[in-house]
């Protein structure tokens, strides 16, 4: 394989990884839109959590990459 072909494959893989890890920020259609939490909007998660207080709730904290 030529050096050019290797470079092209590496560039394509890198581009794919960038798109996968950083492309768009759209939540699945069955869910509400992704909420940006700030000190002003923190109440949104608090209210949503309290609104379903008759149910079981799971809180998960994850890193995006």
């Amino acid at each position: 394989m030529t050096r050019k072909a290797l470079l092209a494959i590496s560039a394509a893989l890198l581009l794919g990884a960038v798109i996968y890890f950083y492309g768009g920020h759209t939540a699945p259609p069955t869910q509400p839109a992704l909420v940006d939490l700030t000190s002003q909007t923190l109440s949104k998660i608090e209210n949503a959590f309290n609104d379903s207080k008759d149910d079981v709730r799971v809180l998960v904290l994850l890193s995006p990459t």
């Binding site: 939490l37 207080k53 904290l61």
Partner: protein, 137 residues
């Protein structure tokens, strides 16, 4: 990547509990040097269940509210299960631990246990709220 595997694993648990009154709040937060911005569409898609709401917490406000004081005490790759009645400011988790992928089984058991309590309460008291929810669902 471990966090993303945790996200997929949670999706599997929710799939298994389809139709059950479980809500998941997924908070994405920057922890790793590669966490330059909000989660990508691909990452969000890993948890696609309709009972989930997802949040981008760039200042780690939730982690701080759960005890983060410095880099070592950041609350991440973490799962907590809350039973009926718990509120945001007075919440005592039935189960809380991490990394998510490693503690998924006990977390799943805690969810199932909490669900059985909810169902028992509904049957015992012929709870109006439970009945209304069943109609709405």
């Amino acid at each position: 990547m471990v966090c993303l595997q945790g996200a997929s694993a949670i999706e599997e648990v929710l799939k298994e509990l389809q139709g059950k009154p479980v809500h998941a709040f997924v908070v994405w937060e920057p922890v790793l040097p590669t966490d330059w911005g909000a989660p990508s569409t691909a990452a969000l898609k890993r948890i696609s269940d309709g009972r989930v709401a997802q949040y981008w917490d760039k200042d780690r406000l939730v982690s701080k509210s759960m005890g983060e004081r410095d880099k070592k005490s950041i609350v991440w790759d973490h799962i907590a299960v809350y039973g009926p009645g718990a509120t945001w400011h007075q919440k005592t988790a039935l189960f809380a631990d991490g990394p998510v992928i490693k503690v998924l089984e006990p977390a799943r058991e805690a969810i199932i246990k909490a669900l059985s309590v909810t169902t028992a309460r509904c049957h015992a008291f012929n709870d109006v709220v439970c009945s209304r929810k069943r109609v709405l669902r």
